[in-house]
């Protein structure tokens, strides 16, 4: 099935609205993520050199770029796993760079992160992996937690795998469980680091459909780092192409395809 990015996604207002009390992470009309002049270096190597980006609530932004251009670093900066050298990161109107650890952890509860290799806790079962954030941050009873875990697993099509260990799962299944875990606390901002990397085209397509489905269900801002142009085209409202530490171009997939810039057209032609 061929998806065409913006056409397949109904406008944010048209998507299934979820009551605000059920979605603690979703804010008003304010942008979900605002990056200003973001810089990050590792030793003498400058990875990000003054990034400016805005992601609105309910919008999905795909970050494209060559390997080593700092796309994953950008996600880690947003969730506070790394500190920027300078610049501002504003998530749901809170400045991340100045937050104390406790406040940062509060903010992290409103953010979901799918790691490149899923990063499931390998000593816990699938059920325990998904229950981990619920157990830590909610006052749910065991029964409520169990229901929520089953609901999340059903939403990623893995309702029968509760008791499996991560080592018993394929790469695609691990990504699904990672996505379910990232969604456990109903985040307002979802960060996805290469959700289709290392997967076959069919599984990649399934993961893309799944991401579209959860976006429709949860109506959150998403930033997707990917090398997969098809995936970007399928799931993103807008695309930003990183090059030499900065955003070279920002726009819809179609706008990027029509760009006159030599690097952009080269990049877009490689995989399409």
């Amino acid at each position: 099935m061929m998806h065409v990015g913006r056409e397949v996604l109904p406008a944010v207002e048209e998507r299934g609205a979820i009551a605000p009390e059920e979605m603690p992470g979703v804010m008003s009309d304010a942008p979900a993520v605002v990056l200003r002049g973001l810089r990050k270096s590792f030793g003498s190597q400058t990875v990000l050199d003054g990034i400016d980006l805005t992601v609105k609530s309910g919008e999905t932004l795909a970050m494209l770029g060559r390997s080593g251009t700092g796309k994953s670093v950008l996600l880690k900066l947003i969730i506070g796993l790394q500190k920027p050298d300078s610049g501002s990161i504003c998530v749901q109107e809170q400045e991340v760079t100045h937050l104390e650890l406790d406040a940062m952890n509060e903010l992290r509860k409103r953010m979901g992160f799918l790691f490149q290799h899923a990063a499931l806790y390998d000593s816990l079962t699938v059920e325990q992996n998904i229950a981990f954030p619920l157990k830590r941050h909610t006052k749910m009873t065991e029964g409520e937690r169990s229901d929520r875990v089953k609901e999340l697993l059903a939403s990623v099509g893995m309702e029968g795998d509760l008791k499996k260990m991560p080592s018993d799962l394929s790469g695609g299944m691990q990504k699904r469980v990672g996505l379910a875990r990232a969604l456990a606390l109903k985040p307002g901002v979802l960060l996805l680091d290469e959700p289709t990397a290392g997967l076959d085209p069919i599984t990649s397509g399934e993961i893309n459909d799944l991401i579209l489905k959860v976006q429709e269900e949860h109506d959150m801002a998403s930033i997707v780092v990917t090398h997969d142009l098809h995936s970007a085209k399928t799931i993103a409202d807008r695309i930003a192409l990183l090059h030499e530490g900065n955003v070279l171009i920002e726009g819809t997939f179609k706008e990027l395809e029509q760009s006159d810039n030599k690097f952009v057209s080269e990049f877009m032609k490689r995989d399409s």
């Binding site: 880690k76 969730i79 796993l81 509860k109 992160f113 290799h117 806790y121 875990r181």
Partner: protein
């Protein structure tokens, strides 16, 4: 400086002021490991500070702490007991031959109990646990680090310094004295077994003779110095694990360095603490 074309470039560069002298080269080779050691110590200090800061904040991770008691305590018990038993048995056999030579074989129970409780029990427990638990913690946390599981814990709003490090360090510190008691008991028991092979003596009499002149402080200070051993083992294991870099090779390196460094620091701490105990509890 103009370059005389008749002189080869290689010779000019050898004589130039930029070339390091032999003294500079020696100093650099000495300074490099010293610098590395100081850097490691500084990072360990920062790590300890972060664990301490995390430890005094809620939640206190009681459930994970209990799980770690089981992992570190219960599962180390058989090995520690076996090591204590072997040491007690061998110590009794070796001591007997020496004491018989001086006609002082009646001193054997006292010598054995004193030796086990004061030094052998605590240090053997410290070294056995640093081998088993130090390697385990280093490898487990190292593996979690390289597979981004520690980042995932942090990203879900949980402090890994508390959830992973504090619970393990605390469990090590609290479990070590208990394991030492077990090693002491097994050491004395198997010392008695070794003794009855040579000369029948009841366990009651053996114990009575063994604890003649021993006070509570003889028992307390050496046993509780293992709390420090536990802190060292837990701290170094967690620190080495959580700073792992690279893939599986990095995990292996973390496990090895955890064992080597924690054993080394347990021995150093033992030397210092024995001196302190002799000063304050003599």
């Amino acid at each position: 400086m103009s370059h005389n074309p008749s002189i080869p470039h290689r010779l000019i560069s050898q004589d130039s002021p930029e070339a390091p002298s032999l003294v500079q080269a020696i100093l650099a080779s000495v300074w490099s490991p010293v610098n590395g050691f100081l850097e490691w110590f500084g990072e360990l200090g920062l790590f300890a500070w972060q664990v301490l800061r995390a430890a005094i904040r809620r939640p206190f991770e009681g459930r994970e702490l209990i799980r770690q008691f089981d992992e570190i305590g219960s599962k180390s018990l058989p090995l520690v007991a076996l090591a204590g038993a072997a040491i007690g048995f061998v110590l009794a056999l070796e001591s007997r031959s020496s004491l018989v030579r001086f006609g002082a074989q009646s001193m054997l129970p006292a010598a054995l109990v004193y030796s086990i409780i004061h030094e052998t029990g605590p240090i053997v427990t410290g070294l056995v646990v640093s081998g088993r638990v130090g390697a385990g913690i280093g490898a487990e946390l190292g593996s979690m680090k390289v597979t981004e599981q520690i980042d995932a814990i942090e990203a879900s709003g949980v402090n890994p310094y508390k959830f992973l490090a504090f619970t393990r360090i605390m469990a090590c510190a609290l479990v070590l004295p208990l394991l030492t008691l077990a090693a002491d008991f097994c050491g004395v028991l198997f010392g008695w077994i070794a003794e009855i092979l040579a000369e029948p003596i009841s366990f009651h009499r053996f114990i009575n003779q063994g604890f003649v002149g021993a006070s509570f402080s003889d028992f307390l200070a050496p046993t509780f110095r293992t709390v420090v051993f536990g802190l060292i083992i837990g701290m170094i294991g967690c620190f080495q694990g959580m700073r792992t870099k690279g893939g599986t090779a990095g995990v292996g390196l973390s496990a090895t360095s955890s064992v080597v460094l924690s054993s080394l620091f347990v021995i150093l701490a033992d030397v210092i603490l024995v001196k302190i105990i002799l000063v304050f509890f003599s």
